[in-house]
Subunit: 297 residues, 2 copies
């Protein structure tokens, strides 16, 4: 079996595993299944859960696509390589309870027929209400996952996430960040193994982290006030994804599967003009965390 | 008084006039007032209404800004002209009742210190539920407004609106279109007067058109089903504005006033994956109108 098939198989198993763990923690919701094929080669499995106990809307998607390298990819990678292969798992979970954070994960592998290959991935958290202890737990878990790669990588990937998940027109971050690495090229076999180990480590870290956060916060009582703040924060999520997210933009511009790409949209979002929380409220305290450069651990 | 001051004055009067007519038809809501200044020169008056009888959220904004030509404008207009002047009125109204359409209007004038000047404008309608007679009335009123310019212009501007207010990744239009014209350069005084007449005609057409539509539909009873469809259609409004709208992108990229630019966002929007209305329902019938090239008159 080729390396790339092993990677795709591992990703597909990861998808199943994450889904079982999420369903177990949710206690009610079941992920639907939609298989799709890409006309040019390959396909994927979209798994969507709507209306669970905890998860209001969540998608856990796997894809492995290949074929002739599309023009925009050639341009983006400054290559003329004829064929490409790309596989990955992509997750966005929107919980109903405003005390439970939104989470996003992506792990991916990309290969060109000229022999070049790259890994990318990351996990980031978008709480409406920030619990400092959850933030510390989240970042510490990511640091642990990165240590399989090397001891400095968490700091680098954390900074990349801070810079990436930033909304310039609001001058705030989308949430409390996490880790993000993109287009890390495996220049030799050793580097390949290391990057693949890192990517597996990040993928495997997702379910334990998120089910713990779900479990800890899912039974907290919330009311209209908390829901309003959540819907407000979700509007920022929408703004980030539609205006800045590179994957979303690239997907929409290259005629990707719109429903899969925009699975990341929240089920409901609210825009209120000139809405700023009053000082010293819980909302205001959380807002103070939506900036770059916070040291969590 | 310079021409450009006359234009700005006329726009400011238009803003007041539209606001009185909208408040009268709404019957309850009052527009708030926020004056702002632009550090580099000029400023504006943002007028926002939230929670009216008919208007859930509506903005009617005036601005007149000038000063050193910002780099992105120089690039966009391929000019090195040192100074610029821009004035306009911009409107987005989100009604609460799903039977009442969203409306958008913009009229503007732009001038460079090298003597070049341009007009732009348009009105377009985004109903959740399409009433054919309202669509005909709307387009006929726009045609009438355009005839002050010339007899062919409606067709051209209507086609421009069809192409502009289109969401490629959904393969649908944002609503039922209207008219749109952009960067029409006044190459001599005669052309200037003609374009100014057109722009006044479009601006003046707004209030009579929209108050009539409000009046006709505001008392129709609606329930959860209609609200769901409206919230769904609003998500498409968000997608268009954040992904494609040139004014929004340009504003956000050039550090414009975020709250003014994103005043166009709906108060609440809903994303449901794989949501397509069942055949022969009212929602499905309306969906059939969200495409280019419909002849309304």
């Amino acid at each position: 079996m080729e390396k790339r098939e092993k990677i795709a198989d591992w990703f597909q198993d990861l998808q199943s595993d994450i889904i079982s763990q999420l369903e177990k923690e949710d206690g009610k919701g079941k992920f639907g299944s939609e298989k799709w094929e890409r006309p040019g080669g390959g396909g994927g499995l979209t798994r969507l859960l709507v209306g669970g106990n905890v998860i209001e809307k969540g998608g856990v998607n796997f894809s492995a696509v290949f074929g002739e390298t599309p023009k925009p990819i050639q341009q983006s990678f400054k290559t003329e390589a004829k064929d490409f292969f790309a596989t990955g798992v992509s997750i966005v979970i929107h919980p109903e309870n405003p005390w439970v954070p939104i989470i996003h994960m992506n792990v991916r592998y990309f290969e060109l027929s000229n022999g070049q290959n790259w890994f990318g991935g990351g996990i980031d958290l978008t709480p409406a209400f920030v619990f400092e202890e959850d933030g510390r737990f989240f970042h510490q878990s990511l640091k642990n996952a990165c240590e399989s790669f090397d001891y400095q990588s968490y700091n680098t990937f954390k900074e990349t996430a801070d810079n990436y998940f930033f909304i310039p027109h609001r001058n705030e971050t989308r949430g409390i960040g996490g880790i993000f690495y993109d287009r890390m090229e495996a220049v030799d076999d050793k580097q390949f193994d290391k990057l693949w180990l890192l990517t597996q480590s990040v993928g495997s870290a997702f379910a334990p982290i998120y089910t713990q956060l779900m479990s800890k916060r899912k039974n907290l009582i919330w009311g209209e006030k908390e829901k309003e703040w959540q819907l407000h924060r979700r509007s920022r999520y929408v703004e980030f994804n539609l205006v800045y997210d590179a994957g979303t933009k690239f997907g929409l511009e290259t005629n990707g599967r719109t429903e899969s790409i925009l699975m990341s949209m929240p089920p409901l979002a609210r825009w209120e003009s000139n809405y700023f929380p009053k000082e010293e409220t819980e909302e205001w305290k959380s807002q103070q965390f939506f900036r770059k450069g916070i040291t969590w651990i």
